[in-house]
């Protein structure tokens, strides 16, 4: 059974088609990288998956629950991490976590908070308001809130923006550990080395349409065509230069 199923997702803004017939699926424990040039439709896809805006056509299922028709059950199982952390100006770090625990009905939140604050280096800032935090710290707080209810599906939009080197390393470890524990992860990023390091499969989107999808090794092999090894960056550049739908790895 897949944790994330996206079937023929289409998202239109008036006459503009932001995403067109996009399909993919992610199993528990799998990390899928969503990459594409600026304005390709990555964030639109992720926001639709998180139930922030309804798809114009197609279906999105989170752990078998439709994000439109069974939204509450689907959202209970996911965590969405936007690229821009927009926190509540009037709640401290601790109160953000208490509030999130209330939202997701986390009963043992006190026990969960301490390791999270430790993991994300937020312990000393627990009484601070968001206005007193740096961008990186705000990002970490968003991540802590997202991890609190142990979601089965993690959706990251540019997860490493604003983090320091240690934060990046810890973030990568966190994602890997949660995937190993059975969470399905989808992350969008322009940092292709990160995608190559963390993800088992990748979907490349350009002008709202899927141009490649498969495991990273398959993709690289297809691009190299038996002539040595190529990096994901090289593969991405070659694919996105080619016309849409010209090649899919699977």
């Amino acid at each position: 059974m897949y944790s994330i199923e996206v079937v023929n997702l289409t998202k239109k803004y008036g006459s503009f088609v932001a995403v067109k017939d996009f399909s993919f699926a992610v199993k528990p424990g799998e990390v899928l990288g969503l990459v594409g040039p600026n304005g390709a439709g990555k964030t639109t896809t992720l926001r639709a998956m998180a139930g922030i805006h309804p798809p114009s056509e197609g279906q999105i299922r989170i752990c078998g629950h439709d994000i439109v028709n069974d939204a509450v059950e689907a959202k209970q199982r996911l965590a969405f991490f936007p690229d821009e952390p927009r926190l509540f100006d009037y709640l401290t770090v601790d109160e953000h976590l208490e509030f999130t625990a209330g939202i997701y009905r986390v009963t043992d939140f006190r026990a969960r908070v301490e390791p999270l604050l430790e993991e994300l280096e937020l312990k000393e800032k627990r009484k601070s308001l968001p206005t007193e935090l740096s961008r990186g710290m705000k990002q970490k707080l968003m991540i802590a809130c997202g991890f609190l209810h142990t979601p089965e599906v993690l959706i990251f939009d540019e997860p490493l923006t604003g983090l320091d080197p240690l934060g990046i390393r810890r973030m990568k470890e966190s994602i890997t550990r949660r995937a190993a524990a059975g969470s399905a992860v989808i992350l969008s990023s322009h940092l292709l080395h990160l995608v190559e390091e963390l993800c088992s499969s990748v979907a490349i989107i350009q002008n709202g349409a899927r141009v490649a999808y498969g495991t990273i090794d398959d993709l690289k092999w297809q691009i190299a065509q038996g002539r040595g090894d190529v990096s994901l960056e090289e593969a991405f550049l070659r694919i996105t230069k080619a016309p849409a739908e010209s090649g899919t790895a699977s």
Partner: protein, 566 residues
Amino acid sequence: MIRPLWFVTTRSFKNRLLSRLHKLRSPRYAISMVAGLAYLWFFAFRRMLATDAGRNVSFPATGFGLDVISLIALAAMIFVWALPDQGGGLTFTESEVQFLFPAPIRRRDLLLYKILRQQPSILISATMVSLFGFRHSRVVGLWVAFVVLSIYFTMASLGRARLKAMRIGFFSRLLIVCVATAAIVTLLVYDARGIFSRWTQSTDVGLSLRSLPSMFHTPWVKTLLFVPRIFAGAAQPLTIQQLLVSCGSLIVLGVFFFEVAAKLNVSFEDASLEASQKHADTTGNSRRLGRRVMFRRIPPPFRLKAAGPEVAIVWKNLTAALRMSIAWVVIVLAIFGALIADSAIVGSQGLHMSVTAIGLMLAALFPFLGSQALRQDLRLDLPRIELLKSYPIRGDRLVLAEIAAPAIIVSIVEIIILSATAITSHVTGSASKLAFIGSPEFIIIALLFAIPICLAQLLIQNAVAILIPGWAIQSGEETRGFVNLGQRLVILGGNLLVLAVGLLPAAVVFVPLYLLARRFGSNAFMLAMSTAPAIAILLTEIWIALRFLGAQFDQIDITNEIDAAL
């Protein structure tokens, strides 16, 4: 170097204008624009542009008026030297700082750019002030006066920084300004001693007032007011010749002030960064009045358990209200409480009546004022809609949870005000037309209606955020201008209309039932029963509106508008 600066100034103005015109293609902006312009036309411009003397609001251009303006200009020109700021900081926008400060541009050119950049806003101000009473300036006179005055202020700002470098600090400057002011006042009083003695001897008030202008015509005062009078001559000229001469003189003065400012060669970059940040914060804060954390140490109202998203949202908004807006509520209640206490102590019948009337008015207005002051609901959370929409909660339940916190606070305050007013009226036995406020039937009916009406009002306010979110989220530029004024008017009008329409069915049911109940005796139970169907209608309407708004909330996609606004 001036060409790129001229380019950025003119293009910024043109693009801003085009972007606003482009927005008018959207009906909601067009309607707002029409409403804003209509309001300004009917309530301001029509009277100002009237040519008949009875409706003309322009100040008459007189010699005495010129003297007064000169005196004000002199005061401004002197007191600007007593300001505490001595960094020479000029305000620039964030993008100006990023592009211009590292660029190979001389300080003189930056100063010139700053003056160029101010021109559109100075021209608008000059036009408005001209319309509001200084029509003799024909706009151009005020424009030139304002521009030269702003150059003078820039020169003074840099001058203060230069003085600081010369170890002449704030207190020394303050002392010099005080001594100069005292000297000028002494001089004025000394010169005017003859006039004062005539005043004390004469019983004719008119004659005394007519002799006032002669104060300004002594040689000393004339010399002192020579430069300020040039500003006054441009702002409110007696003749067209005076306007032309004053404008020409001011342009020469402006060039002189600019040259002095440029020659001071003060390194204003650091102070400008600080001033620009401060300006941005102040602008942001004034836009977010009532949306800032005032008391961060106030604890949340209760310990949040794993009670689910509805309770969590109420908890969050109550915490926000306590930290952001509770001061306003406490001030209102404290003032009202003090009035009641005063009325009880003094015991005057007139005061009782006044307090009762104030209480009644406050009770009638508080659902509106309270819902404006306590915005800790969707209106505050709209920029975080991505987060809200990712929560596992249905739209209608989320909308209800969002408005619950302000509804609780507004309702409690409304009940306190109503009860206090009724009790005051009852206890003091206000023997007047307002005596009915102390009657049990008023208290019962008002208290029963208070909560649904507060809830309905908050729901209407939040409906604006859901149905026309672009009006609830505004970028910095959108907070000014005709369109914004129009939006506020349309929202206010719509709010009142929807509330009236919403209350109408309840009123239609309530009135006959109330009259019927009175026929069977005005006991509390009968009155409550007569109110119940009307309240049921109101609550049903609220429930239907909640379902509708919840469905709309699930459908809205405003992330692009938020990205553009924030």
